[in-house]
Amino acid sequence: MPAVADLPGIDNWVFAQGHRGKWSSMRVAARPPVAALLVPDQRDALAAAWAHLQMGGVETLIADERRVDRPLRAALIADGFQVIDGSAGVADTVPRDPIAGRLWLLTSGSTGRPKRVAHTFASLAAGANAAAGQPHRRWLMGYAAGTYAWWQMTTLSLLQPGQDLVALEPAERAIWPEIAEREGITAVSGTPTFWWRAVLHHWERLCRLRIEQVSLGGEPVEQSLLDRLHEALPRARIWWAYASTEFGTSIVVRDRRAGFPIEWLQQHVPGRPALRVSQGELWLEAPAGSGTFQRTGDRASVVGDRVLLTGRVSADEINVGGAKIAASTIRHVLSQHPAVAWVRASARKAPIIGQAPVVDVVLQSPIAAGELRRWCAERLPDYGVPRRFEILGEIPETLAGKSHV
């Protein structure tokens, strides 16, 4: 880890909430050695990351203040963090020595409630270090402050020369193509939900952008989205990443296809964790090279020559009168319909059968629910056919930019 003054990205430009300057011009505010910085915007988040490096030896958690509720805030205080946010005052915290260089991330995992995962700048920077030799890019980033994907982009900008960063606030995600055009963006990284909204609502502007690099991550990626992005941006490289916040590791797929090649299950490649599928779940070798495999909680299905990642195991099973169908299976089937952009399949409590599969759908083009039902009836067992179809006008988006399929 080079000294801060020697970071290769120190002269990269950073644009966030009114800040337009190099990393080196970011102001470092005084803060306690063990701090949870609950930030209102990207500028404060990036400044907090810069300060963590500048100060050295401190322990830091950075999160969008809206992700941290009262119970979590109380837990942080109880664990010795000085919580710094927009509210007045600092709560009673028993000071303790910092775990030098520790960076804490919040991840929703399988429960939906944020939990803390331990990292360091070095562990978060592995992806950035592997990205050496990239051409000069001006990146637009749509990830929530303090998340694993956010740190991937932040470390890239700090560690690789020529990687400027434009950080979007959550409220700006809806108009990001307009911002991208204005700022001369050449690379964009966001969740599939982020990209679908552009495809569905800003198609013409999206097609005009001079984007050379498209990156997706944080959610399952459907082939239909990859195809639409290639149609809009035929000259762009399109990559998607599967990453585990908990294990600090990721795989990157560069062939513009959903899932990853089945051959990867047998391969040991330096810099890429070994992969296994067991009982419909993806397992990762963590740490890489250790020979120890960890459950990811992510549903994995082998379909032809690909391993498809279709959702979370915990939210997947629908028990229809004793017959079980995976919500991810229903979602995958419907996602293949050319008129469908986004699907959420879930279980609804129902008389007699206990649970009935129901779906929320966002369309690319108009189509009757009856046609979607017929599509499902031709591809699923009768108990797997959704019994209610709700057509939504927009993909519902969380603060983290995901849509919790």
Binding site: G321, P351, I352, G370, Y383
Partner: protein, 88 residues
């Protein structure tokens, strides 16, 4: 919901089972449910439609359904549930 409105729900679901664009055909009280392939999945689907219309959950299990053999029986059964839900 009225008996006629409930009949419309049953006819609509029956039409959707046949295929998209199929217009709902009238179903008289005498039509036997086995003749139109109405089983537990379809009963539940009708119940979900009714729940969404009246804004209340319907609670029943399979036992009373054993007495339900015709469209008329089904409509009478659902009407009773709707009235019970309205009183709850």
């Amino acid at each position: 919901m009225t008996r006629d409105e409930l009949r419309t729900v049953v006819e609509t679901i029956r039409a959707e089972m046949i295929g998209p664009g199929v217009a709902p055909q009238p179903l008289s009280d005498e039509v036997r449910l086995v003749e139109i392939d109405f089983h537990s999945l379809e009963f539940s689907e009708v119940a979900l439609h009714v729940e969404d219309t009246i804004g209340k959950e319907l609670n029943f299990d399979a036992r009373p359904m054993r007495e339900v053999a015709t469209v008329g029986d089904l409509l009478d059964f659902l009407l009773g549930l709707v009235k019970d839900a309205g009183r709850g």
